[in-house]
């Protein structure tokens, strides 16, 4: 008897056991649920254990548990928090207007070489900060910096005016590395997509050029500027290595370097570190909520996607502004790199006055040194393993976020994969350390490359899943549905249709994760040991102990790797950007 005949006969439908029906009906959710559970643990447990530690300290003997109020009275804790805010404020107050101006020039005017400049800022963003700052020392060091000795020699100043080892040195280091570059990278496309018709309408209504800029362009772009500002602010709490290297000699501690020194003590002051971390998380919470709120409310962003009309003409200012841009990029981009390469070949870092200042000794000695070669191998292992983990896992996370069956679960996964970007590396590091020590199952990971890869994996998850998500959204669900309807299983469709189409994005993501992982400092600094230490940590240790020549060599190597990675990403982007459906 056929099923339909069965139904027509009016007989009750064949009952399938409830469990089977539940699995059939909700089984499709299972993979997404598992991914969500794993991520929830990996992300929330470290954070929770940091907060827990701030109240109850560590189980280690001999360390008394104090109340928050008592612990905060410890010398330097409040000062470290205050200094953190000071650096963030200094960097943003200078960086934001500069970045807005540069982005406007690049996106909305006819300045020659726009594309090249934009690419330049992108590369700048890609450079590891420590190497760049190492290069700056040759220029701005209080005793031997070229800028200082030049000004002194010509009698223009009484005393050396520049000092990298200071508050302003730290602010400058941030500005010259990623602080301005990342803003330009985000703002320029937003400015470019701004509908030029709005500007034209204002001009036709009788507004002048200046009036149009301040009354129409700026208010219309304010949401974009605001979100970039909030993101930058969140990111400034991320910074660690610049402050450690430049701040410690100047006795200028911020919360992240303070956590580091607290944890480097014996026994480590877990509670105080936890209090600092928790305080920063509390300060950041409103910013994080604000950022989420703005970015989820898409409508708030003015990006219309419609191509703008012809750019504003600069007139006679065209070439002068181009020249200014060349000088600025040359100064903050090319100069420190050139100096760094020079520095790696100097007998005594910064001492040009020696009879024979040049040598290749640092390169020879380092490459013969077992510490260095171990670190190099570690770096490559960590970079490749993180990239591999990213390819395997971010693709699944992104897929579940984009195509998951349950809307609630998709939203949760989206939130979860976005959260780590807002957690400063040093706090992640601290959380992972306590997690590994507290969870028996994970304890074997302590002191292994594995835990470093795991920290890197989490530190890059936002960036990585975002790249894949965008690609998958562009691919469109119907492309996939077509694969199912013609008779392909889910796996077959994923393998032969979705994966090949997402491949350029996956490749870009892998290279980005590699680049971010090999320069990672904050997220892994508390997790690495003598055996698992990568180049970035070795470089930081060299810098902190004033071994500047060998540090410069490592800086050159890491920067060269980053540049290659950046060029690969750029090449894939240009080659496959037409990969989307027409």
């Amino acid at each position: 008897m056929t099923a339909s005949a069965h139904l027509e006969a009016g007989a009750p439908p064949l009952e399938t056991p409830l469990v089977l029906r539940l699995i059939r009906r909700h089984g499709g959710h299972l993979p997404a649920v598992l991914v969500a559970l794993a991520l929830t643990f990996l992300i929330l447990y470290p954070l929770a254990s940091v907060v827990y530690g701030s109240f109850f300290g560590t189980a280690a003997k001999g360390v008394a548990v104090q109340s928050w109020a008592d612990a905060l009275r410890q010398p330097g804790l409040v000062e470290a928090l205050w200094n953190t805010l000071k650096v963030a404020a200094g960097v943003q107050i200078i960086g934001m207007p500069v970045a807005v101006g540069i982005s406007w020039l690049l996106a909305r005017t006819d300045i020659p070489g726009r594309g090249v400049f934009e690419f330049g800022f992108w590369i700048l963003f890609f450079l590891p900060a420590l190497g760049v700052v190492n290069g700056w020392l040759l220029f701005f060091d209080p005793t031997y910096g070229l800028a200082n000795s030049f000004l002194l020699r010509w009698g223009l100043v009484e005393a050396a005016p520049f000092d990298m080892y200071s508050y302003w040195g730290i602010v400058f280091a941030h500005l010259s590395t990623y602080a301005i570059a990342v803003k330009v990278m985000l703002l320029t496309p937003a400015f470019r997509n701004f509908d030029g018709a709005l500007e034209e309408a204002a001009r036709i209504c009788g507004a002048g050029r200046v009036q149009t800029f301040f009354r129409i362009v700026v208010p219309a772009l304010l949401p974009a500027i605001l979100i970039v500002f909030v993101m930058s602010l969140i990111r400034s709490f991320e910074s660690f290595e610049i402050e450690l290297f430049l701040g410690i000699p100047a006795n200028f501690t911020v919360y992240s370097t303070r956590i580091y020194t607290l944890m480097a003590q014996d026994p480590p002051e877990l509670q105080a570190a936890g209090i600092l971390a928790s305080s920063i998380l509390m300060v950041m919470l409103p910013l994080v909520v604000l950022q989420r709120w703005i970015s989820v409310r898409r409508s708030y962003v003015v990006v219309t996607g419609r191509g703008a009309r012809g750019p504003a003409t600069l007139g006679w200012l065209r070439w002068p502004s181009c020249l200014a841009m060349v000088l600025a990029l040359g100064f903050i981009g090319v100069l420190p790199l050139a100096l760094l390469v020079l520095g790696s070949f100097m007998k005594l870092f910064g001492f040009f006055s020696l009879a024979e200042p040049w040598t290749t000794d640092h390169w020879h000695t380092l490459f013969a040194d077992i510490t260095f070669s171990t670190a190099l191998v570690n770096t490559l292992t960590i970079g490749l393993a993180s990239a591999l983990a990213a390819v395997l896992c971010y693709t699944i996370v992104a897929y579940c976020t984009v195509r998951g069956r349950s809307t609630a679960l998709r939203g949760y996964l989206d939130l979860l994969s976005w959260l780590p970007a807002t957690v400063p590396g040093i706090i992640l590091s601290l959380g992972f350390l306590t997690m590994v020590l507290n969870v028996g199952l994970l304890r074997p990971l302590y002191g292994t490359i594995g835990i470093i890869v795991l920290a890197n994996f989490l530190a890059s998850i936002t960036l990585g899943t975002q790249i894949i998500k965008v690609a998958m959204l562009q691919i469109g669900s119907d492309i996939e549905e077509a694969g199912r309807v013609v008779g392909g299983s889910w796996l077959r469709t994923f393998r032969s249709i979705l994966l090949p189409l997402a491949l350029p994005a996956i490749a870009v993501m892998a290279v980005m994760v590699f680049a971010v992982s090999i320069r990672q400092v904050g997220a892994i600094v508390l997790l690495s040991t003598g055996q698992t230490r990568p180049l970035s940590i070795l470089q930081l240790e060299f810098l902190a102990s004033g071994i500047l020549g060998p540090a410069a060599v490592i800086g050159v190597i890491l920067i060269a790797l980053s540049l290659v990675a950046g060029l690969i990403v750029r090449w894939i982007g240009l080659r496959y950007s037409v990969q989307e459906r027409s």
Binding site: S4, E481, A482, G483, V486, G487, G488, R581
Partner: protein
């Protein structure tokens, strides 16, 4: 022709949150028949199609193909799309941009592990059938919209699926190409037997392509029938107005021997051939008729008996026709007038309705007319 029931949709429902997108839809497909699901956007037609394909899960009812249950909410049975043996032409075509035309079209056969020589032979045949014989090596991105449309059709046809599902397949084409594709699809159906659904919001497309039309509104099927039947005899006002223009006038029932409807301001009396016992004298009703059964002539002394009188209020010249807005007994109606004569605004006209094609409406429902 012997009728074989191919597909049965039985009490299908689907909710998104509290909102019912498809509500208790029941439809049947006979073998070799194409049924258009027609309705405004958001009426549930695409969701119905996706539930047949297995791309959406119903929360009530079931779908059976011959003696196979494709999906049944009550029994907790649901075949995944790949096991339903349906072909689908997507609105966006959903062609795979990383494959050539040939790779796109042969993919379903490769999945079915068909032997290589047979694949080549069948691909060549289907490409010739749809007129793309020599474009097999092209990338999808190198094709025009119309060509992409054909590839999508070929990909759906090649594995001879039991059911064909068209999801607004022509809506991305320009008007001229759309008309051409309609014609080609008709020609194709003479060569290949197709059973399936054709989702569209374009009534001309539905009328010209489908064997039967199911008009959907707010998740429900409003009327099912052959294109001619439901065009001429719509069961609801919504169907009437959605399928084309209607010439509609309100008046009062006059029972003076036969049945007639008198218009206000002495614009005339419409004699109704038939009886409607439910209506009593003096009740307000609506008379409607398709405009092609209406003739408008300049008002002359020797006007045809039974003609209504009206006046041209606004006249819009459209090139091959005039769009005339008439006032008839204080009501306004729109008509298309031929350009053969120079009509002028303000001109009085005589309006003659073809009595055999009249419909009477009372309280939003059609009044069945019995023998006179």
């Amino acid at each position: 022709m012997e009728q074989t029931r191919e597909l049965v949709i039985d009490g299908l429902s689907k909710h998104f949150g509290d909102k019912a997108v498809v509500e208790n839809v029941s439809l049947e497909l006979q073998r070799g028949e194409i049924v258009a699901l027609l309705g405004p956007s958001g009426c549930g037609k695409t969701t119905t199609l996706r539930m047949v394909a297995g791309l959406a899960a119903p929360d009530g009812g079931e779908i059976r193909h011959r003696d196979r249950i494709l999906v049944s909410a009550t029994r907790g049975v649901s075949l995944p799309p790949e096991r339903r043996n349906v072909g689908m032409v997507f609105q966006s075509y959903a062609l795979w941009p990383h494959m050539t035309v040939r790779e796109n079209v042969s993919y379903p056969l490769r999945i079915r592990k068909v032997a290589r020589p047979e694949i080549d032979e069948r691909v060549a045949r289907v490409l010739t059938l749809i007129g793309l014989g020599d474009l097999g090596g092209r990338l999808i991105t190198q094709l025009s919209g119309g060509q992409q449309q054909r590839v999508a059709l070929a990909r759906a046809l090649i594995y001879e699926p039991a059911l064909m599902l068209f999801d607004e397949p022509f809506s991305n084409l320009d008007a001229q190409l759309r008309v051409q594709m309609r014609l080609e699809l008709k020609a194709l159906r003479r060569k290949v037997e197709m059973t399936g659904f054709f989702v569209t919001h374009d009534q001309t497309e539905a009328l010209s392509i489908a064997d039967r039309i199911a008009i959907m509104r707010d998740g429900r099927v409003e009327q099912v029938g052959t294109p001619r039947d439901i065009y001429k005899k719509p069961a609801t006002r919504f169907v009437r107005d959605f399928l084309g223009r209607a010439f509609a006038l309100r008046g009062r029932v006059v029972r003076d021997g036969g049945l007639a409807i008198a218009l206000d301001e002495g614009a005339g009396v419409i004699a109704i051939p038939g009886s409607a016992p439910a209506l009593s004298g003096g009740e307000e009703v609506e008379v409607s008729i398709r405009p092609e059964y209406v003739s408008v002539t300049p008002l002359a002394a020797n006007a045809a008996p039974g003609a209504l009188t009206g006046r041209i209020v606004d006249l819009l010249f459209n090139g091959d026709t005039f769009e005339a807005h008439l006032s008839v007994g204080g009501q306004s109606v729109t008509m298309t007038l031929p350009t053969g004569r120079d009509w002028v605004e303000g001109e009085p006209v005589a309006i003659l309705l073809d009595a055999g094609n009249l419909q009477l409406w009372h309280g939003g429902a059609v009044v069945p007319l019995g023998a006179a």
